[in-house]
């Protein structure tokens, strides 16, 4: 029992997003909407009240034509491990009602909509704007309700929601593992994938257990091109990014003019 427990704690699901492969097609967003019963309104152009569990940002190098470059950056919930990897992610420690929690088994930051009473403190705490508030009652017009998946419960107005790394898929994979009596074996990489990783047509998003050597992310995250967003805040995200472009990397965090990305590690 004890060993199993320790093994489970060793799991840390994470993502590696190769920005040099992202074409900004938005399939990850749509895949996520469909998978997670994300609501939609007739007008979604106000991006500050538009619910997206993963949002693709468009970065540019700021140079004039024709030296301009752009880079797309998909941003899901970073599933922060928090300072010193204790699970005190910026949001979890501030939630007054334990509606959001750090799951020691998977490292995933949960959000329980029925517990949330909508104080929005977690949104104030999250530097990534990963958390979205249900300002409106969700409405599914015509027969669109019929497309709702039973695996994810639809949210009601007045609560916060965010990317769950498609945790329901983990639940279903575990369910199957129990049924097939392999609950004590680690889940395979294919057993549990997020909807965005699955939908990404260019293979930009790789998902898996960062601690499991058999999973691709384990190796990918050690690339010299790897970095994390706003890493210097000490949030310890479990979403890594890859890019060979220094200007992109520089925009992924804040640097003083004399600082260079990638050369700060010894400082902290």
């Amino acid at each position: 029992m004890k060993e199993k427990h320790d093994y489970e704690r060793a799991r840390r699901y994470g993502m590696v997003i190769d920005l040099d492969k992202c074409t900004g097609c938005g399939a990850c967003m749509v895949g996520c909407y469909m998978e997670n019963n994300v609501p939609f309104k007739p007008d979604e152009t106000n991006k500050l009240d538009s619910i997206n569990w993963i949002r693709v940002y468009k970065l540019n190098n700021g140079k004039p034509y024709p030296e301009t470059e752009i880079c797309y950056l998909p941003m899901p919930c970073m599933q922060c491990d928090g300072v010193d990897l204790h699970g005190h992610s910026p949001c979890v420690s501030v939630c007054p009602a334990v509606a959001t929690d750090y799951d020691d088994d998977t490292g995933i930051v949960s959000q329980i909509y029925t517990r949330c009473f909508g104080c929005r403190y977690c949104m104030a705490a999250c530097p990534y704007h990963a958390r979205k508030f249900n300002w409106w009652d969700p409405v599914w017009p015509a027969d669109m309700k019929k497309a709702l998946s039973p695996d994810v419960s639809p949210r009601m107005r007045g609560v916060v929601e965010k990317c769950s790394f498609c945790f329901h898929r983990y639940q279903l994979a575990r369910n199957k593992a129990y049924f097939e009596n392999r609950q004590n074996e680690p889940l395979g990489e294919d057993d549990y994938q997020t909807a965005c990783a699955q939908a990404c047509p260019t293979g930009t998003i790789t998902f898996g257990d960062l601690n499991n050597k058999a999973h691709a992310v384990h190796q990918l995250k050690t690339s010299p091109n790897a970095f994390r967003l706003l890493e210097r805040l000490g949030t310890n995200p479990k979403v890594y990014y890859l890019t060979a472009k220094n200007w992109v990397r520089r925009q992924g965090d804040n640097y003083l003019t004399d600082e260079e990305p990638g050369k700060l590690k010894q400082k902290r």
């Binding site: 007739p42 034509y65 709702l148 639809p154 009601m156 047509p201």
Partner: protein, 763 residues
């Protein structure tokens, strides 16, 4: 103790306090508090999705001509998600946002739920529900009456670009009925097909073996913006190896350009000149495939015809496209032109591709020929990593047609779009010419009845105002659309088709694919509403018209027709959903060309004819004459495509629209991209309001400053500005077709417009 008025209040207060104290010791407040919270967790207006056993059904996405394989995930009997099919040869699991949100087209509020007959004025939106029998009888009656008047050619039908056997079925119907007017809106693929016909003498579409090419030179093709089969293109990009070079040439830093190894900005519309300029260097420096050019091509060098008349060859044409000249035309530095040519020619399997954006607009024929010539110079024709020709699928023999005099006479009438006539003998459809032709007809309309299938010309045709004016003159319009789109809402009758997931549809050749892949979309669910397959509707109408028309349709429905048509493939398709035909051309076949010279023709003799000079036949570059005078309209408006938006007859789904950035669409306004330097001159600011005027129309827009666009240009996204559909899709920005008109390519009649002159005012 007496109760009186004075102490009554005190006693009541005491009892109330006692009651309050007691109540606190009962479950009442606590249970109610808990239950009230649970009530908020299960508000009756928050849906609870019903659970059911999970299953997956395979099919094909037919929302665009890409034909990607999909799995539809079911919960019980409800489709709840669409995912990519890993085993499908086209997309191998990858899907675009449109395909992923396919269920929103199935369940959405935009569906037409039963046949409708117009009440009130056209486009007013007043409808009467009618039965299928009534609807079919009304259309059949109209067709029968036109036949009786011996004017069957006045019936025209517009089909979608999805291909498959349905257009063939409708074509057969029109033929026996007596009308040659089967049309669809031409795309870059049609321009490519014509180029293939002109150079190789084959009927078929160009297929690009991008998978195996090691140098991809794209003249503005939005390879990652929805060009070809989007699932395939995205997958290829992701799987690209480091040895593969991908160069994008266009005046705006599109998403494709951003993902390419190199983006080269070019003056818009001068891609043809660049292709010739590259050819110039390649030829001058003898970098081309001499064996292929000398052995298998015609018209490279100057030549004398049978009458002994001297003709200029392609090589001579290139004389005029030296780097200096081309640099001046294209705005690209000479050195870059030279190095690009050398890099292209120095690669082992280079491929050149054209067709701007998603490829929805055909573009000029000369430009397409010039780009194809680059491939021919390298001998990359019908070989790995090169340009293939996907032949039209030869279907099994259908019963012979018996035709009466009316039908035969009707079929001999010139087409209402002029395609295939003296002027444009090599073009098959020229729908872009129809509005002008109708509008310039003195009395009445050459089209008396218009049937629209899987198409939405009132949105997609350039120059919306002219299109609308032309449609006003067509007395009888029937739409077979599943959705209340612009054309359907303007029709007299709507005979709604099933939506893609509810119907059979074969996809014989996915756009741009280098080999034949026949896929079959199968109905994964029973139709939700009172809709009917358009194939069934046409077969029904044929039977109702009777006689030899009925005899031409011995099938009892579309499924039977499809089975008969696909013959040997049917069984495999029903079972596997896909048949992949990878016919590597035999060495001998590779260089079999059906042209007059039996060679690849740099000089397309099919274009030659009386009165044609060599310069008309060879793919010379001529600048397109844009509408509008340069002084008043001092900017140029170009359309741009995004894979997050549907550009064609289908509107973007709510989820696609949701992914669109607020630098593209804000509330109900389109943002146009403009270079900050240009904006500064015009005193325009980020997010500011502006009036955009072109010779065709005007629109209120917002400004988005974008460094990635050439100064002097305005880019506007295609796919916005729908006026029909529900509030989730409609009234979002401006339809660029309201601002842009077609420009007739003198060589082909196809629409070669890539932009229009414009002016922009701050308001």
């Amino acid at each position: 103790m007496k109760i009186n008025r004075r102490n009554f209040l005190t006693y009541t207060t005491a009892a109330a306090l006692g009651g309050a104290a007691g109540t606190l010791l009962t479950p009442v407040p606590w249970k109610l508090m808990d239950d009230a919270a649970i009530w908020t967790q299960n508000w009756p207006w928050t849906p609870v999705p019903e659970a059911g056993p999970v299953s997956y059904k395979p099919s094909i996405c037919t929302l665009c001509p890409g034909g990607c394989g999909i799995y539809v995930r079911f919960s019980g009997n409800r489709p709840v998600k669409i995912e990519g099919m890993k085993e499908h040869p086209v997309n191998k699991g990858a899907l675009c946002p449109m395909g992923l949100s396919g269920l929103q087209y199935l369940y959405g509020p935009d569906r037409v739920r039963s046949p409708l007959k117009r009440e009130g004025k056209r486009g007013e939106g007043k409808w009467k529900k009618i039965t299928w029998d009534e609807a079919l009888a009304a259309v059949t009656e109209k067709l029968a009456s036109l036949r009786k008047l011996e004017e069957p050619q006045s019936v025209a039908c517009i089909t979608g670009m999805e291909g498959g056997t349905l257009p063939s079925l409708i074509g057969r119907f029109l033929t026996v009925y007596g009308s040659p007017n089967l049309m669809r809106q031409a795309t870059a693929q049609d321009a490519g097909a014509q180029a293939v016909f002109l150079t190789q003498g084959k009927q078929g579409t160009p297929g690009f073996d991008i998978e195996n090419a090691d140098f991809i030179l794209s003249f503005g093709s939005g390879m990652l913006d929805g060009w070809g089969a989007p699932g395939r293109m995205s997958r290829l990009f992701g799987a690209r190896n480091t040895a593969q070079r991908f160069i994008q040439i266009e005046p705006r830093l599109s998403d494709t350009a951003a993902s390419a190894n190199r983006w080269i900005g070019i003056n818009p519309g001068t891609e043809g000149a660049l292709a010739l300029g590259l050819a110039h260097i390649i030829v001058k420096e003898s970098l081309y495939n001499k064996h292929f050019v000398e052995t298998f091509t015609f018209g490279f060098n100057d030549w004398n015809d049978e009458a002994g008349v001297a003709h200029t060859g392609f090589k001579a044409l290139l004389e005029g496209y030296g780097p200096e000249n081309v640099s001046r035309i294209t705005g690209i530095q000479e050195a870059l032109i030279k190095s690009l040519a050398r890099e292209f020619a120095g690669s082992s399997r280079p491929i050149a591709i054209n067709g701007r954006g998603k490829g929805a607009l055909p573009g000029g024929m000369n430009e397409t020929l010039a780009v194809h010539a680059l491939n021919a110079l390298m001998g990359n024709i019908n070989k790995t990593g090169g340009l293939y020709v996907i032949p039209e699928l030869t279907y099994a023999k259908w019963p012979d047609l018996g035709m009466d005099g009316i039908a035969s006479r009707g079929m001999r009438q010139p087409r209402c779009d002029g395609a295939g006539g003296d002027l444009f003998p090599n073009s098959r459809f020229l729908l872009n010419r129809v509005p002008t032709l109708i509008n310039t007809t003195k009395d009445g309309s050459p089209v008396e009845a218009l049937l629209v299938v899987d198409a939405n010309p009132m949105y997609t045709l350039p120059d919306t105002a002219a299109t609308r004016k032309a449609f006003e003159r067509i007395p009888f319009i029937v739409s077979f659309s599943s959705y209340m789109d612009e054309t359907a809402s303007y029709a007299d009758y709507i005979l709604p088709d099933h939506s893609p997931l509810e119907r059979y549809q074969d996809v014989p050749a996915p756009a741009g694919m280098s080999h034949q892949v026949i896929s079959l979309a199968v109905p994964v669910i029973k139709p939700l509403y009172d809709t009917r397959h358009t194939g069934d509707a046409f077969i029904h109408m044929a039977k109702a018209l009777g006689g030899f028309i009925e005899e031409a349709f011995p099938w009892n429905g579309y499924e039977a027709f499809l089975e008969d048509t696909l013959q040997g493939h049917w069984r495999i398709l029903k079972k596997k959903g896909v048949v992949e035909i990878i016919e590597t051309p035999a060495a001998s076949d590779r260089f079999t060309f059906n042209t007059a010279s039996a060679k690849y023709e740099f000089y397309p003799t099919a274009r030659a004819g009386t009165g044609k000079r060599d310069s008309d036949v060879l793919p010379a570059y001529a600048p397109a004459i844009l509408d509008g005078d340069e002084k008043t309209f001092n900017l140029i408006l170009i359309p741009c495509d995004s894979i997050r938006m549907a550009g064609d007859h289908m509107a973007s789904s709510p989820f696609m629209t949701k992914t669109v950035d607020d630098t593209v669409l804000k509330k109900q306004m389109t943002l146009v991209e403009i270079n900050p330097a240009t904006a500064l001159k015009l005193n325009l600011e980020e997010g500011g309001k502006a009036l955009l005027k072109t010779p065709k129309g005007k629109a209120s827009v917002l400004i988005h400053l974008y460094e990635g666009i050439m100064p002097g240009l305005i880019a506007m996204p295609r796919g916005l500005g729908h006026t029909a559909y529900s509030e989730y899709l409609a009234n979002k920005g401006t339809n660029i077709n309201e601002l842009m008109g077609p420009i007739e390519d003198p060589a082909s009649g196809l629409d070669m417009a890539w932009g229009i002159r414009a002016q922009l005012f701050r308001v």
